[in-house]
Amino acid sequence: MSDQEDDRQAPAGTTSSAAPAVSIAKRQTNRRRVLRTILLTGGVLGAAMSGFLPLVYAQKKRLRPPGALDEKDFLSSCIKCGQCVQVCPVSAIKLADLVDGMGVGAPYIDAREQACDFSCDAVQCILACPTGSLTYHKPDFLPVRNGAALAAKPILLAKEKDAEPTLNLNERIGVARLVRPEACLAVQGKGFKGQTRGPGFKGKMRYMAVDRWKPIPIAEHPYDVAECDLCASECPIKGAISIETVFAPDGSQRKSPVVHEPCVGCGVCEMVCPVEPTAIAIEAREVWKV
């Protein structure tokens, strides 16, 4: 710091206007203190405002947990406590880091790594949320975007035989879309045998045939299908996706996964897709378009 230099250059002219009780040295000290105070103000506010940068050039849209309010409301109401993280049986929810700017500490789901397969049956993350950022019923003052609302409460296949087979969800968090049809095994008419995503993949899922209450690593559940239909067979929601016969642009017939209106955007199809990179993916916060 250049404190000493400043002392030497104490301007004599300014002393005349000084209050007599304050010495030159004291005034110097005070002035430097004011400068430092302004500097710290700038520093802290600069750091705070840098949180906006990632928002300005946001490349990726984060998939939020089920029941999340629309992004702007979600970020303003989330208190960044991670209680949703703590209750998730498959650890699908992660907290965002510094690169997410204003979203530091806000929860998101990376569906390709670990999707929400509703292993908890009741959407526990919503129950855990203390601020209503994740909510079963959106309050009246918050509008529902066109196409975000589900036509009916989604039926969870795992609970289909229960007295109450539906999930308490009114809006989707995204929509699955076949983003790379040319890579899709079903489109190519190929089957799939072995561990989807390979032996090192950490993602978990519950298989009703194995244990309803205990999700297991996907790597421990190899597949053997003559025609790949993993996205459709593993989808936890009734009627959200099916393998259909469709017409290709050249007029020939082929198979293809088709996403239907009940899709909630949970991301299981994206997680289990054996192709790298995935052929089917969730478009976060996307709405259903007819």
């Binding site: 105070t37 906006f52 303003s76 406590c81 880091d97 500490g105």
Partner: protein, 328 residues
């Protein structure tokens, strides 16, 4: 409360917002009893001998510091352990949590969320109420020194700063304490205007709490930068001049019955307490000739950390619960 203490009570609220404490200027600012003690101390030649005697027999312990560190580490570990072992005692992080099912919500975070979101949610209100009652009872800024994980790191950084300062390698660059009030207002307005909880993005308390529970991320770099600044440039800068959480809890502490009490007659005015204190402006009353009564309660900006209680060689500073001594 005497008229003088009432005036001091108001003055200490101004001190909380960053103004310098008022000095008693007229003789009638100080009670006759306190004046007598001030006078007696001035004329007493045995005082130096007494002082040395008290020094020699002083039990300089770390009782309160150790209790406080243990509490702080325990509270933060309870969060981490609850999640790591899935025992569900204290779920969440310092910003919001559930203690065996009861909602607890940090007052400043709740405020930020309400200002940004502009709607009040029931759970938020319940949790905030619980925490408000808790910290009114326990002393407001007690949160800072007994719970906040950044406080502990900053205390260690302060030790390093003081060591370097002793070696004349660094000097403490003090700032205007009113800055904290400015930040409080600015962050409140930012939340209101932008709809984002801007402060939460840089709050070292939230960042550290989440890092302890969910694992560290890049955001910890910001905390390290703050600590670096405190070690090399300005002693305890974040807690003293910036943190709006401290001010929020300080306001809660205005009405708190738990505080530090100062007794004038035994004090030798050596100022050891002011040297260890995070907020020495609250201890202005211990300066020779400043105490307006024989017993003075320390103001709301005090974090009730107990360092002064540990340090005082004469036992003139003690923890007190207002009204409890009358009851018992």
């Amino acid at each position: 409360m005497s008229e003088r203490l009432k005036r001091r009570f108001v003055d200490q609220i101004k001190v909380l917002f960053g103004w310098d404490p008022a000095k008693p200027s007229k003789p009638e600012d100080i009670s006759p009893e306190a004046q007598k003690i001030h006078f007696y101390k001035k004329g007493n030649r045995d005082l130096i001998e007494q002082k040395l005697h008290a020094r020699a027999h002083a039990e300089h312990g770390n009782k309160w510091r150790n209790r406080r560190w243990a509490t702080l580490i325990f509270a933060n570990l309870l969060f981490a352990v609850s999640f790591a072992l899935d025992i569900q005692i204290l779920e969440g992080a310092l910003t919001a949590s559930r203690f065996v099912g009861f909602h607890l919500i940090d007052l400043n975070s709740a405020l930020q969320v309400m200002l940004a979101h502009k709607h009040i949610i029931n759970n938020l209100l319940i949790g905030t109420g619980t925490v408000l009652v808790l910290w009114v009872l326990l002393g407001g800024r007690t949160f800072c020194s007994w719970v906040c994980p950044y406080h502990l790191l900053a205390e260690w950084a302060e030790k390093l700063h003081l060591f370097l300062a002793k070696k004349k390698l660094v000097t403490d660059q003090t700032m205007d304490r009113r800055l904290r009030t400015v930040f409080w207002i600015v962050f409140a307005l930012l939340a209101l205007a932008t709809g984002y909880t801007v402060f939460e993005a840089i709050s070292p308390t939230g960042i550290l709490s989440r890092a302890l529970i969910y694992g560290p991320g890049l955001a910890v770099l910001w905390v390290l930068a703050l600590l670096f600044f405190e070690v090399f440039f300005s002693r305890r800068a974040w807690c003293r001049y910036a943190c709006p959480i401290g001010l929020t809890y300080g306001v809660v502490g205005i009405v708190s019955p738990l505080r530090i009490k100062y007794k004038l007659d035994g004090c030798f005015h050596e100022g050891d307490c002011r040297k260890v204190c995070l907020v020495p402006h609250v201890l202005d009353t211990v300066i020779k000739g400043r105490a307006v009564e024989t017993e003075v309660a320390i103001g709301p900006d005090c974090t009730r950390c107990g360092l002064c209680v540990d340090t005082c060689p004469t036992g003139s500073l003690t923890f007190e619960v207002k009204g409890l001594s009358k009851l018992m």
